[in-house]
């Protein structure tokens, strides 16, 4: 087991007037894949957004340590530079900006913040081609405006491509499987598996067990009403599928 890359301690967060996360504790070491499961409205996506730094949510108690650093002090772009990546549940379309311009801007923005020299166009193209190859993505995607007119599957695949290009230390996948057919799901999962490394961790947020057939997690956490009520190995996900969230909730309540 590696060093804890992400440590969430007694995290309370929400929007004004409504607490959504009510004391989340979670430790994710480098090199591992953790799945976060839970029924609709349990706070899964809120946790993803709080990690990425969306302004709509406020942390009212507890803290998030990312590689020992308090995330609350960092703006979203600084979190990206620190090595955090969020794959969106609903990736945004950006007509007018090509994938190439977008990723070049992103990669160089991150490098600049880290004090690394920006990549020249040739080096950048090489890097993006390698990233595309790694996740089996057509590099022609780079010529098209970001996500514009993409199918659900293409958008999710593009998220994984961005992930490969930005090479973060922690990738949070927010319901990456939602809206995907089984073929698209396999392609996305294959891309994620190709990016697993001893110094990188994944937090895979999902409602359904089926994604975990393809991305096999080290640990499964169950989030119910803003708290992690149970953690276990991957068999926990199978139990959930068989018995439903309600049963697990009851057991946890006992």
């Amino acid at each position: 087991m590696g060093e804890p890359l992400l440590q969430i301690e007694d995290l309370h967060a929400g929007i004004p007037g409504r607490e959504i996360l009510r004391g989340v504790n979670l430790t994710l070491p480098a090199g591992q894949v953790h799945a976060l499961m839970g029924p609709n409205g349990s706070g899964k996506s809120t946790l993803a957004q709080v990690l990425a730094g969306r302004e709509d949510y406020t942390i009212t108690q507890g803290r998030i340590l990312f590689a020992g650093q308090d995330l609350a002090a960092l703006k979203p772009h600084e979190r990206a530079a620190a090595g955090l990546f969020l794959a969106f549940q609903y990736p945004v379309e950006i007509p007018g900006v090509t994938g190439m311009q977008f990723l070049r801007a992103a990669v160089n923005a991150v490098r600049k913040q880290r004090g690394e020299p920006e990549l020249d166009p040739v080096a950048m193209l090489k890097r993006l081609r390698e990233a595309a190859k790694l996740v089996d993505c057509n590099p022609d995607t780079l010529k098209r405006p970001v996500n514009e007119g993409f199918s659900g599957g293409e958008k999710k695949r593009n998220e994984v491509f961005q992930l490969a290009a930005l090479a973060p230390r922690l990738a949070v996948l927010d319901e990456t499987d939602s809206g995907l057919d089984i073929d698209a799901l396999q392609v996305v999962a294959k891309g994620v598996n190709a990016l697993r490394r001893p110094d990188r961790a994944f937090l895979v947020i999902t409602h359904y067990q089926r994604l975990l057939n393809y991305i096999v997690p080290d640990v499964v956490h169950v989030l119910v009403e803003g708290r992690i009520v149970k953690s276990g190995d991957r068999t926990l996900a199978l139990d959930l599928e068989r018995e439903g969230y309600a049963a697990v909730e009851e057991k946890a309540a006992v």
Binding site: P76, H77, A80, A81, I94, P95, Q101, A105
Partner: protein, 449 residues
């Protein structure tokens, strides 16, 4: 409408002085008649429907004078200085005008210019009957008072009647306006005649030589012959004191294809009239307007597209970006005349406001007198997409850069309809220079050459 009380003596004096330049009788008559028409029509005011949102008061109150040939050479311009404005596109030929008058010494050598490409002043000397015939053909649409005033000072401009060729050049008309006291007005005309099956690309480029006031009141007539293909770009990049009023008139013969790309980035008070007439069966017109204002710029886009024959297709896109206290206007009207069946017309005006003080007035209109047609129109006024800005932030871009990139992205939808890479590159630079964090933005978006 108001009586022409302002600056009447000045305009008359200018006209009398300029009439002395040995013009043929018909031309002197033409100018007199146009001046008479200007007097009859009078300055438009905000009570006139087409001028509801734009006041010409600043123009009426300023003694703009029109200089003649040889009087405009006050500014010393070196050919080296021109490099900054060139597009650096292969096949580019440049015609330079200072205060509306052609400067052969600054332009591409005559030997490099295609046959039939010359200044209007030269054409008026060499082939006056031909010019007269083109003017008659061109002046078939309703002209307002400003167009009449332009006609009264018909002196120079570009006269482009190239023969059909396999490698049509890119003709770059660079209009430089000086800052002088009293301030100057230039009333140039560009006459563009594309022969049957011919092709032409024209980039008209308005630039200020100083920071002072000037007024540019230009007209471009583009007569596209049967089965021809014309591309016309207007790059308005003059200083924030400048007034720019103009008319771009395109007349389309059968199966012709015309693209008009007016890009208004500069100028203080700008009124751009587009008048397109699809007067041949199966013709196709694209109007791809882009206007980007900040400070106190006032950018007024007025467009009238007439479908006069069957099976015409016209697509009009206007993208507006307004920041600080800038004001924008879009008034677009598609007219489908009786008999223009199977017309396909689409009009879209999308606007992005970057501040609470910026204002946009938009009025898309349809006027349909045929029954078998497909016409749509729509307009939106909105703010930056916060979700997209956040998306960019999570990918490593600081908030301000994410906002700048999204603003650029909005305008770029207009740029992406332009298929001359050098123009796109040029506008990309001009555009990013107008946006916050322009330098970093330019680095992000620069296309590899």
């Amino acid at each position: 409408m108001v009586a022409v009380a302002e600056q009447p003596d000045l305009y008359d004096r200018d006209l009398q002085r300029l009439q002395r330049h040995n013009a043929p009788d018909w031309l002197c008559d033409w100018r007199q008649r146009q001046m008479q028409r200007f007097r009859t029509l009078g300055w438009p005011t905000m009570k006139d429907e087409p001028w509801r949102f734009t006041s010409l008061k600043p123009v009426m109150d300023t003694p703009y004078t029109c200089v003649g040939p040889g009087e405009a050479h006050a500014a010393a311009i070196t050919p080296q200085a021109l490099e900054a404005w060139k597009l650096h596109q292969e096949g580019e030929r440049i015609l330079v005008f200072v205060d509306g008058h052609y400067r052969a010494d600054l332009s591409s050598p005559p030997a490099d210019l295609p046959q039939g490409v010359t200044s209007l002043a030269q054409a008026l000397r060499d082939t006056p009957e031909d010019v007269q015939a083109v003017l008659r053909r061109a002046n078939t649409v309703a002209m307002d008072a400003l167009a009449a005033l332009n006609g009264a000072f018909l002196l120079d401009g570009a006269c482009l009647q190239p023969a059909r060729t396999d490698t049509p050049p890119l003709l770059h008309l660079l209009y430089l306006a000086t800052s002088a006291a009293p301030p100057r007005v230039s009333h140039f005309q560009n006459l563009i005649v594309v022969p049957e099956g011919g092709q032409i690309t024209v980039v008209e480029h308005d630039v200020s030589l100083g920071a002072g006031r000037h007024w540019c009141n230009g007209i471009t007539h583009l007569l596209a012959g049967p089965n021809s293909h014309a591309r016309y770009y207007l790059l308005e990049e003059s200083n924030p004191q400048a007034v720019n009023t103009r008319l771009i008139h395109a007349h389309l013969d059968r199966d012709s294809r015309v693209e008009l790309h007016p890009a208004l980035l500069g100028g203080g008070l700008v009124r751009n009239n587009i008048h397109g007439v699809l007067d041949g069966e199966g013709s196709h017109l694209l109007v791809n307007g882009l206007f980007v204002g900040r400070g106190q710029q006032h950018l007024d886009n007025h467009m009238r597209i007439v479908h006069a024959r069957p099976r015409g297709e016209s697509h009009q896109f206007y993208q507006g970006v307004l920041g600080e206290e800038a004001q924008g206007v879009f008034a677009g009207r598609i007219v489908v005349q009786p008999g223009a069946q199977q017309t396909d017309a689409k009009q879209t005006n999308r606007n992005l406001l970057l501040s609470d003080e910026a204002r946009m007035n938009t009025q898309p209109q349809l006027e349909i007198h045929a029954d078998d047609v497909k016409c749509t129109h729509g307009a939106t006024v909105g703010r930056l997409d916060q979700e997209a800005v956040y998306y960019l932030q999570t990918r490593g871009l600081p908030l301000e850069l994410a906002q700048a990139l999204m603003t650029y992205a909005f305008a770029a939808q207009g740029l992406n309809r332009m298929n001359i890479a050098a123009v796109r590159r040029h506008l990309m630079r001009q555009l990013s220079a107008k946006l916050p964090h322009g330098r970093e933005l330019a680095q992000m978006i620069e296309e590899p050459v």
